[in-house]
């Protein structure tokens, strides 16, 4: 019997449309109740005065690098970075070594997470064997072992026929198909968004169309197959428009946006800093505005970080040589508050929904709410505290963030996972 009483916070639970100062009582891994002046004998008290108390945040797109690339990140360190970013659940992409394309690897990740992780970890399985884009992976067996979606993130399925079959099988196993939408032939050789800035810097470009044609293809295949299709980290104005079109037609199409794709643009790439290199690349202000409009309108369902740790020995090379990807777990909430809430674009309720009911709905996780009986995952954050992100103090094993040294207003205060405080700021910093 363990109980935790989170007192006097402003509770925002989009799923039950609750927004008021109140307490939350957690016991034995479940939410017991939300209400005013709750008391519970023997319960540990967490004073959340002045803070927002929300359902546990879910990041549906992270790379934990384990098994196989543990010098970049492990399930343990990735989960620590997640908790320090206010996340209580993370979903890990399958591009490990070996690739998570069969039930044995899935079971290893699940077991490793059970032993090492301080947050919930939900694996995402590969679409094809070794993510090579040819033969379908053991989708059904992986589902039984615990995957919540399939994706060949980073190595997108180029063969449309294979993608069609994947969607058909995924549908029969009630799994969403998540695609990193990139036509590898169109993007080949590119290092940043193709446009004025790439010309100015003399770097090879990745055109928006390399993303757009795959979003279009997959939406059409989702229509053909009836599969649930989710666009990972969409970044272009056309992609947002096409997802909105698919939704208007009633297709089971959803999408996520990363904080960096609505917070910074290709014009911010200065001095060939490799921490500004990722896929999709930072796009233009016009695209960034479209992503923000999509978040406001509801075309975009979730905010996900695409946390992609790389050790300095690999990332700190010339822009053309370094791998794609940046860390993001610890800065996601701060950036979202800065660009979406403090600017008046969206309400705090909508912000919380983008981190909770949004991803939970896409993945059909029974989470993302503070309703009685739900898993006792709670995120506590504030909207005013001023702080500076120091990548060198990161809980991640890697440091590849373009937001090192950035000043934030508001951020995570605590992550409560399964009724226990996994991380809290006053103890950690």
């Amino acid at each position: 019997m363990s109980a935790l009483l989170v007192k006097n916070g402003r509770i925002i639970d989009p799923a039950s449309k609750f927004d008021d100062i109140a307490d939350v009582l957690l016991r034995d891994g479940r939410i017991v109740e939300v209400g005013r002046g709750l008391a519970a004998e023997g319960a540990e008290i967490f004073d959340a005065s002045g803070c927002i108390v929300a359902p546990g945040f879910i990041d549906m797109h992270v790379h934990l690098r384990e098994p196989g690339i543990e010098h970049a990140e492990t399930i343990e360190t990735g989960s620590r970075a997640a908790a320090a970013g206010g996340f209580t659940s993370i979903c890990c992409m399958p591009n490990t070594i070996p690739v998570n394309d069969n039930a044995t690897v899935t079971s290893y990740i699940v077991e490793r997470a059970r032993q090492q992780a301080i947050t919930n970890v939900f694996p995402i399985g590969a679409i094809t064997k070794n993510s090579a884009g040819e033969e379908l992976a053991d989708i059904g067996s992986m589902k039984h072992a615990g995957i919540v979606a399939i994706s060949d993130d980073g190595r997108p399925v180029m063969n449309a026929r294979v993608m069609r079959r994947a969607m058909e099988f995924a549908r029969s196993f009630d799994l969403p198909v998540i695609d990193h939408c990139e036509d590898l032939n169109l993007s080949a050789g590119g290092d940043m968004h193709e446009g004025l800035q790439s010309t100015r810097l003399g770097l090879r470009g990745i055109p928006s169309s390399s993303e757009d044609v795959m979003v279009a293809r997959d939406i059409l295949l989702a229509q053909t197959t009836g599969a649930r299709f989710h666009v990972a980290h969409l970044s272009s104005r056309n992609a947002v428009a096409m997802v909105a079109y698919a939704k208007a037609k009633g297709l089971a199409v959803t999408c996520e946006a990363t904080p960096h794709h609505f917070a910074i643009t290709d014009a911010d790439i200065a001095g060939y800093d490799s921490n500004y290199k990722m896929k999709p690349p930072l796009r233009t202000e016009c695209d960034v505005n479209a992503v923000i409009e999509g978040i406001v309108s509801g075309a975009i369902d979730a905010i996900a970080t695409d946390h992609a740790p790389h050790p300095g020995s690999e990332k700190m090379q010339e822009f053309e040589k370094c791998p794609f990807g940046i860390t993001g777990l610890e800065t996601a909430l701060g950036l979202s508050l800065e660009k979406l809430v403090h600017t008046g674009k969206i309400s705090l309720t909508r912000l919380v929904a983008l981190f909770t009911t949004g991803p939970a709905g896409v993945l059909r996780l029974n989470r993302g709410t503070l309703r009685a009986g739900a898993p006792a995952d709670v995120t506590v954050f504030d909207t005013e505290r001023e702080w500076t992100y120091d990548a060198n103090q990161s809980h991640s094993k890697s440091r590849n963030s373009p937001f090192h040294g950035r000043k934030f207003r508001g951020g995570p205060i605590a992550a409560i996972v399964n009724g226990h405080i996994a991380w809290r700021i006053d103890k950690a910093e």
Binding site: E135, L136, A137, D138, I139, G140, S141, F169, S172
Partner: protein, 70 residues
């Protein structure tokens, strides 16, 4: 999606026949893919009429051809 995984999720096995009506029979026009579409236990079970079906199918096809070209 390996052969073994296909059989696990889509193959017909004895355990599935438990939920069928007691007089339900198993039919297949042949040729069958043992261990892929259905298990050998099912194919060779008392409830399988596959061999009868295949044998009768030859007679039926012979009769049809006779009618059409005869």
């Amino acid at each position: 999606m390996s052969v073994s995984e296909y059989f696990r999720f889509y193959g017909l096995r004895l355990e599935h026949l438990v939920s069928a009506k007691p007089d339900a029979i198993v039919m297949h026009p042949g040729p069958i893919n043992r261990g892929r579409e259905l298990s050998s236990e099912v194919a060779d079970s008392q409830r399988s009429v596959i061999l009868n079906q295949v044998e009768n199918g030859i007679a039926v096809r012979m009769a049809v051809l006779e009618r059409v070209v005869g």
